[in-house]
């Protein structure tokens, strides 16, 4: 078995694609129509093109418990997932410039520095830098 992807539930796939590519800087990899306006939509990291794909899936639109779970995590400030960066402060500055909303400013916690932002599609996402 191989790990090839991580799934992120999104409330609007077109908006998510725009945010994950134009704001965060990921690159679209797969975009397959699945009927009723749904897509098998994945993005990958520019720095790690052979790495896992992020599947931007519309589960919260079609399965109520998924929507409830996503909202509960969001309201508690719990990130759906996290991405690693070389410099959390630099990413924070870059994303603030692009108008991204942050829940937490860059914060050191032991041997990591982290920050949490909103992805505009129903999730909090954490960026982490190993110190």
């Amino acid at each position: 078995m191989r790990v090839t992807g991580v799934s992120v539930p999104v409330l609007d796939q077109a908006k998510a694609l725009e945010f994950y590519t134009e704001t965060l800087g990921f690159v679209k990899k797969l975009d397959i129509p699945l009927g009723d306006g749904n897509r098998w939509l994945t993005v990958i990291s520019k720095e790690q093109p052979d790495g896992p794909e992020i599947l931007l899936e519309p589960a919260p639109l079609h399965f109520e418990p998924a929507k409830v779970f996503q909202k509960a995590l969001f309201d508690a400030g719990i990130p759906w997932t996290q991405f690693e960066v070389d410099d959390v402060q630099a990413e924070y500055d870059r994303l603030i410039e692009k108008g991204v909303t942050f829940q937490m400013k860059p914060t050191e916690m032991g041997t990591v520095k982290l920050v949490v932002f909103e992805d505009t599609c129903g999730n909090k996402i954490q960026l982490i830098e190993m110190l």
Binding site: I78, Q103, G110, T111, K124, M130
Partner: protein, 134 residues
């Protein structure tokens, strides 16, 4: 403050109670990153971290989840992947990251990445070729 932030604070107090230890381990990790291609001498590392060898080995593993040796190997493998992607030969890559024998490098690379350096390199060229075409 959110539920998540409250929990982060609890974890910080529980797992990182000694800021001096944290600072010294962060410094040591930076040193290892800068010298990943060299033989690391535990006595020297212990001097850098201002703590005993035993304490250092124990704390590094506790704070970073892997031993110093495992961490150094992971840095070497990451660098090897980068060099192979850039088209460096396997022998060059092996010596550049501090291995003394291509055979031991290839064996470890396969253990960590799941394929040999040559297979990895060919796959990377194929991915780049396909990406250019699309």
């Amino acid at each position: 403050m959110t539920f998540y932030e409250q929990h982060l604070q609890k974890i910080k107090a529980l797992c990182y109670p000694n800021q001096s230890h944290t600072d010294r381990l962060i410094l040591l990790r930076k040193y290892i990153r800068q010298h990943y291609d060299q033989k690391l001498d535990l006595d020297h590392l212990s001097d850098i971290a201002y703590m005993s060898k035993y304490h250092l080995l124990r704390l590094f593993k506790r704070y970073y989840g892997q031993s110093i040796h495992q961490y150094q190997i992971s840095l070497r493998i990451e660098k090897a992947k980068s060099l192979l992607r850039q088209g460096h030969k396997i022998g060059e890559t092996c010596y550049a990251i501090g291995f003394e024998s291509p055979a031991s490098f290839s064996k470890l690379f396969k253990e960590r990445i799941g394929c040999s350096p040559s297979v990895y390199q060919k796959a990377q060229f194929s991915i780049r070729f396909l990406n250019r075409k699309s």
